[in-house]
């Protein structure tokens, strides 16, 4: 990266540009060596895991910005709680200790909207079984930011840390439900596409769902990731690259709502590249797949769970989509998904 290069939107879109920025600017300067079995900054996982006796303390932090702040299926408050709870869950840490909440709000923001966001955060905390124990509030001048930024940090305990790099050839990968709902709902609203009625964000804290999977799969669960920015494609890429395997996914098995299928088709956007806020990709040894799938489907948030992928030794680092008509490689997203004309 050149010194005079400016940060652009692609650096925040969850793809290659963002990872390269983080690696070159932050990891290089801030990362310290990990202790035995610990997970730190250089691992670029969903959070950090530090030794605490014979257990692990798992920590994560996430700043949430979204326009518009209220959208079908949720709002920035629900997103801020869910995002952090889910990042902890992806490390295997479903025993939640507490969250923090820092907000930066723009001058002129409606107090009633702030109260609505707070109520939504409270509801999401109750769903997740966690509380906010400390916070911070700053106000900035009009035009200095767009409405509201919420940062949440979360702390949880785990007996065993699940990473995103533990896949081996033969392992299976499942997704806990339909994909593409959040990103397309927000895009449709933001761009006034007139499709809003059918599309709803999936934003939800899924700690209890992941807990079921961990209980059913135990040690057989070897990798997890929540496919937020960059979508399922980017998350699978990261898992494939870090684990040194190829991943073959069966496109026809991917659960999609009809609304997402139609909107994605119309806009020329691949649902595999669209953000989710209430889903997990779970990798496991193949013998555990049936019982994990059954456990997930018994949970209201996991009814549509499907096995979608298999790990192979060939093509390490690649994600191959079996379309039913042939095969293709799917790339990581570079920048935000944009509708195509051609």
């Amino acid at each position: 990266m050149r010194g005079d290069e400016r940060i652009s939107m692609k650096h925040g879109a969850g793809g290659r540009a963002m990872r390269s920025l983080i690696e070159n600017v932050f990891v290089r300067g801030l990362a310290e060596p990990n202790g035995d079995g610990e997970v730190g900054l250089a691992d670029m996982d969903d959070g950090a895991a530090l030794r605490l006796g014979d257990r692990y303390l798992v920590i994560t932090t996430d700043s949430h910005v979204i326009s518009p702040i209220f959208f079908p299926g949720g709002d920035i408050g629900r997103l801020a709680v869910s995002g952090t709870v889910n990042d902890l869950a992806m490390m295997g840490a479903t025993e939640l200790v507490a969250l923090t909440c820092a907000i930066v709000v723009e001058e002129g923001f409606l107090r009633s909207d702030l109260e609505r966001v707070q109520e939504s955060m409270s509801a999401a905390c109750r769903e997740a079984g966690v509380r906010v124990v400390t916070g911070d509030t700053k106000v900035m001048g009009r035009g200095e930011l767009d409405g509201l930024v919420i940062n949440t940090a979360g702390v949880a305990l785990a007996d065993r840390v699940v990473r995103d790099n533990g896949l081996r050839p033969g392992d299976r990968i499942l997704v806990t439900g339909t994909i593409g709902d959040h990103g397309l709902a927000v895009l449709a609203l933001r761009k006034s596409l007139g499709l809003e009625g059918e599309l709803r964000s999936d934003v939800a804290p899924i700690g209890s769902l992941v807990e079921r999977a961990l209980a059913a799969g135990g040690e057989a669960i070897c990798a997890m990731k929540d496919p937020t920015r960059g979508g399922v494609a980017s998350s699978l890429h990261e898992m494939a690259k870090k684990s040194g395997v190829g991943i073959v996914i069966d496109e026809q098995a991917i659960p999609l709502s009809e609304a997402v299928r139609a909107a994605a088709e119309l806009l020329g956007i691949d649902p595999l590249h669209v953000a989710n806020e209430g889903k997990a990709l779970i990798g496991m040894r193949s013998e555990a797949a049936p019982r994990v799938l059954e456990a997930l489907r018994a949970h209201p948030l996991g009814r549509d769970a499907q096995l979608i992928g298999t790990c192979i030794a060939e093509h390490p680092g690649s994600v191959i989509v079996e379309t039913g008509f042939g095969k293709r490689l799917i790339a990581e997203l570079d920048g935000e998904p944009l509708p195509r004309i051609c």
Partner: protein, 380 residues
């Protein structure tokens, strides 16, 4: 799920994997019957490449059949100076509205996305109608940076004929497909034996527009739709024509395309636009390949309405694609990315030089991303 999406896209009969397998087998059979390889055909449409890529059709084509992606992505072949004009306008205080995939096409020093990052007003729209709506909501100047072939050009023409607001104007980068097929067919080393023509453009022009081309070049043309079965069936037909040495136009998209096309759309198109020669990025000067606004629409023509300050972007010298770029040869199927000295060095996805590195379906971009042309035949 309920509501307007009940139709169930998944149930479209043009997406039946069993029929696709049968067509794939037929394609292998007719290609083998020709008895030599490669048999080279070209499509000239970004949507065809998109469908081929998205459904992974290439992995099921017979090895002896080379399906070459021609100069058919309107985004990729938008030339540097055209992008520069849009960037310059956006930096002159005018709002520029355009299709999403035009944002990242590099100009001489920056793309519209870069300009947006630096504070210029750039809006992504999904149609020219949406751009007109944006203009109506404001008193400020709004320029629609219009790209695409006959299909989107007709939409632009219709908007200009429907009495748009005074603050609306068009920067046309529209292109016209038929002339570029001539260019490819006339390249001295070309080994293209037949063309797949784009079904949506032919919906406007009619398939009759290709008869003259077929007579002149003795090459078959098959008009194809965009579902996987459309493409496979059209390829089978095209290879059959090559095998029997019949230079004909065949319409394999009859549910949309007729011989004479959409007369009203053509009338609108030619009332608003006139064809002029111009460069297509990385390919060549294409006679009659660019569509510009006619004089009657001068007041809606951004090029005549504004003094576009390009000198600032060009620092005195007009831009020129590197003379070393061989995109034209790659698109004509007579060279591969490895033959290019720029490939992977001076020409990378973050800073593309030629058209083939711009589009996600471009040959060079695919090679760069996957280290060559990936063979997925070993994946069970």
């Amino acid at each position: 799920m309920s509501g307007p999406f009940d139709v169930g896209v998944s149930e479209l009969k043009y997406r039946d994997p069993a029929r696709a397998r049968a067509l794939g087998e037929a394609l292998t059979r007719v290609t083998r019957e020709i008895g030599r390889e490669p048999v080279s055909v070209m499509h000239v449409c970004g949507s065809h490449e998109q469908a081929i890529a998205r459904f992974g059709l290439r992995a099921s084509f017979p090895k002896a059949l080379d399906v070459i992606m021609g100069p058919g992505c309107p985004v990729c072949i938008t030339d540097l100076p055209e992008v520069d004009e849009a960037v310059a306008l956006s930096e002159q205080g005018v709002t520029v509205a355009t299709y999403g995939d035009m944002l990242r096409v590099p100009g001489t020093s920056k793309s519209l996305a870069d300009a947006q990052g630096e504070g210029a007003r750039v809006e992504v729209v999904y149609s020219v109608a949406q751009a007109v709506e944006l203009a109506k909501k404001s008193d400020e100047e709004l320029v629609f940076f219009a790209s695409g072939f006959e299909t989107t050009a007709v939409a632009t023409a219709a908007a200009l004929l429907a009495d748009p607001p005074e603050n609306f104007s068009v920067l046309s980068a529209h292109k016209y497909i038929p002339p570029v097929m001539e260019i490819v067919a006339e390249m001295p080393e070309t080994r293209i034996e037949g063309f797949l023509a784009a079904g949506h453009a032919a919906t406007i022009t009619g398939y009759g527009v290709f008869h003259q081309f077929v007579r002149r070049h003795r090459l078959p043309v098959v008009v194809a739709g965009f579902e996987p079965l459309d493409i496979l069936a059209a390829l089978v037909r095209l290879v059959e024509l090559i095998a029997s040495e019949r230079a004909e136009v065949v319409n394999m998209y009859p549910r949309c395309v007729t011989r004479d096309g959409n007369a009203r759309a053509q009338e609108k198109l030619w009332r608003v636009f006139r064809p002029i020669g111009g460069r297509w990025r990385g390919i060549a000067h294409v006679p009659n390949g660019n569509l510009r606004l006619r004089d009657e629409f001068a007041r809606f023509d951004a090029r005549r309405r504004f003094a576009i300050d390009l000198a600032r972007l060009w620092a005195g010298t007009p831009p020129r694609l590197s003379a070393q770029c061989i995109c034209g040869d790659i698109m004509a199927g007579i060279a591969s990315p490895n033959d290019c000295v720029l490939f992977g060095k001076d020409c990378v996805p973050e800073a593309p030089v030629g058209a083939c590195m711009v589009s996600s379906e471009g040959t060079c971009k695919i090679w760069h991303q996957y280290g060559g042309h990936p063979d997925l035949g070993d994946v069970a």
